[in-house]
């Protein structure tokens, strides 16, 4: 039982990390808290479904197009809306929140709710690891998350664009003096965040079914992981994913599935009381602003 719990805890952590990655990246680079993140996730999932079932496209094509469209949606959201309210924190939050709301509730209204809305898994097979059945999809999630994290690390450490992102994340004003266009970087940041949400959706949604409710769930999870791990810190997000993933899974196995949400809530409150800026958070209260 222990081995099984550990394995599923690992998978749970990978899922959380995958979900939180995009939100964290967008915020870390451009300071935009994208409250429409959950909506993008759901948008990508429904996109694939629609392309497969209504346009008759093959799975691979549907996935690629849907991810592309979601990325485009992110870029458009920045270019059309966010750019006009740049710098006003109040308006930014409300704007992204409103857009997320519109997308999710539109899907709900149009009736996209039900068990038939599922995405196909990439493989039907399952393996036996340490005496537990693990389906291929879940293994794929872990593998993909690891690949994504390493890919992102390589990107931000070895490509010029990635280094530009890190520069802006560390100190925006200095980075700007090097001639980087803040709008372009922000558009990219929001788009990449949306793309990551789409990728996460494509591989995680097959585990269950799509519903607009998922959008809010994903947003909550991403927010909780980022708050606990520290907004803007990739290491923090990964650590937090592991902490919450394992805590949830072990609570589920040994105490009872009702308590998992309480554990998450308790973890959140504990972090807020002990280290409000998150485990690896770099939010300094006053020093930065003098």
């Amino acid at each position: 039982m222990l081995a099984g719990t550990i394995i599923y805890a690992l998978i749970n952590s990978a899922i959380l990390a995958m979900i939180a990655m995009g939100f964290n990246l967008t915020f870390g680079i451009s300071g935009v808290a994208n409250f429409a993140y959950g909506a993008f996730y759901v948008l990508a999932a429904y996109g694939v479904w629609i392309l497969i079932h209504m346009a008759g496209l093959p799975y691979a094509a549907a996935v690629v197009i849907s991810i592309g469209l979601t990325t485009l949606a992110g870029a458009l959201m920045y270019r059309l809306v966010l750019i006009r309210v740049k710098g006003q924190a109040l308006s930014e939050v409300i704007a992204t929140f409103g857009i997320g709301l519109v997308i999710l509730e539109l899907f709900r209204y149009l009736g996209f709710v039900g068990f038939e809305y599922t995405l196909p898994v990439l493989s039907d097979k399952s393996l036996i690891i340490a005496g537990t059945y693990v389906d291929m999809q879940r293994i794929l999630i872990v593998v993909l998350t690891a690949a994504l994290v390493s890919g992102l690390w390589l990107f931000t450490h070895h490509t010029s664009l990635g280094l530009a992102f890190r520069g802006i994340a560390q100190d925006e004003r200095t980075a700007l003096t090097f001639g980087m266009d803040p709008d372009r970087i922000a558009t990219l940041a929001v788009s990449i965040g949306a793309a990551l949400a789409a990728v996460a959706a494509v591989i995680i949604v097959p585990l269950g079914s799509i519903s607009p409710e998922e959008g809010y769930d994903v947003l909550i999870k991403a927010l909780a992981v980022c708050i606990i791990g520290g907004l803007g810190s990739t290491g923090g997000v990964i650590l937090a994913s592991f902490l919450i993933g394992f805590a949830e899974r072990f609570t589920d196995s040994y105490i009872g599935s009702h308590w998992t949400m309480i554990v998450s809530l308790a973890a959140l409150l504990a972090v807020l009381v002990l280290k409000p800026s998150g485990l690896f958070g770099k939010q300094k209260e006053l020093e930065e602003r003098i």
């Binding site: 308006s91 409300i94 704007a95 409103g98 519109v102 947003l219 309480i262 409000p276």
Partner: protein, 334 residues
């Protein structure tokens, strides 16, 4: 010949700016009118509306309180995405006090307002020191998390909630209580925000370094603003518990978080009157649109985005401007 638009204060406004306004009934009416009109309307409406629209008025007042509460927070630099948190805390406090201890609604409602306000403030205290975005995030997820906790642990009645609360003495009592509280909150808090205390709060929002430099503990002030706003929202939650005679998970629903924001954005942030105006417009509107079901929230969302981007000043500011100033085209010298 080029022209430009010029805005000038109306004569009557200029004349009513100082003490000599007391010499003329017209000028006094100019000043008092905008204040007396909503009071009169609100106090007379319950008498002329039928039962259905009386319930709508109840709703309007509740959401007006939530919107006012949101506006106070926004002016102090805190953007709340979870008015439902305060609403729900108040609702459950009142429900619990009535259900488990049998206290009368006349006691539970004020107590729950304080209790709900305190709990919410304590929950949010740690994030007051951080950047504003943390406040928004935590207010968003706390109600959603609390719902799931209640569902899982089945406390306070779990998914079924607590029912069989004591009602308030009469429908008239309900209506006039909430309308009076709403008006008192509106005018009282406007007064507060216009005073020096309010200036400190707005100062914290604008340039907190300067306020710290004056020896003022900004976190204490923010906590006070939070408590006031949370208390008001908790009051409306407690009130509704006794109107419906039921409290359950729906009190933490997103609806209670979103509509107040939409109301303030439409009415105009920064003056509590805008929140009030917005609520008066959106709640009846949403009743009329009941037919289209879920599309309502889609509209709110669209409304929100369009208003915040294109018309940030809001309806109330627009009306106020028209009331105080007039515009005309003047020639521009080359």
């Amino acid at each position: 010949m080029k022209k430009r638009k010029e805005r000038i204060d109306r004569g009557i406004r200029a004349r009513s700016q100082d003490i000599f306004v007391l010499c003329s009934w017209r000028e006094m009416l100019y000043l008092a009118g905008p204040r007396l009109l909503p009071i009169a309307v609100c106090l007379l409406l319950p008498l002329v509306l039928d039962t259905y629209w009386q319930k709508v008025l109840l709703s309007v007042a509740v959401f007006a309180l939530l919107a006012i509460s949101w506006d106070i927070l926004a002016q102090s630099g805190m953007v709340s995405l979870g008015q439902a948190l305060f609403f729900g805390c108040g609702a459950y406090s009142a429900g619990a006090m009535n259900h488990y201890w049998g206290l009368s609604p006349l006691l539970t409602i004020p107590l729950a307002a304080v209790c709900g306000g305190t709990i919410s403030t304590l929950l949010l205290l740690p994030v007051l020191r951080l950047r504003g975005i943390y406040f928004s995030m935590v207010t968003l997820i706390l109600p959603l998390m609390l719902v799931r906790v209640i569902e899982a642990t089945k406390i306070f009645g779990g998914t079924e909630g607590l029912s069989g609360m004591q009602p308030l003495p009469s429908v008239w009592f309900e209506l006039y209580l909430i309308v009076t509280v709403m008006l008192v909150a509106l005018f009282g808090l406007r007064r507060l925000l216009d005073s020096d205390y309010g200036l400190v709060l707005k100062g914290i929002n604008d340039n907190d370094r300067a306020v710290i430099n004056a020896g003022i503990n900004i976190y204490w002030f923010k906590a006070q603003a939070l408590f006031i706003a949370a208390g008001i929202a908790a009051f409306s939650g407690a009130f509704m518990t006794h109107v419906y005679m039921f409290v359950g998970m729906p009190v933490f629903a997103l609806d209670y978080s979103i509509l107040p924001i939409a109301a303030v954005v439409v009415g105009g942030p920064g003056t509590l009157a805008g929140a009030f105006t917005g609520a008066f417009i959106l709640v009846p509107l949403s009743e009329l649109l009941r037919g289209i079901g879920g599309l309502r929230i889609v509209f709110y969302g669209l409304f929100l985005v369009v208003c915040i981007v294109a018309l940030p000043e809001g309806l109330f500011h627009y009306i106020q401007r028209k009331y105080h100033q007039f515009e005309r085209w003047v020639e521009v010298d080359a």
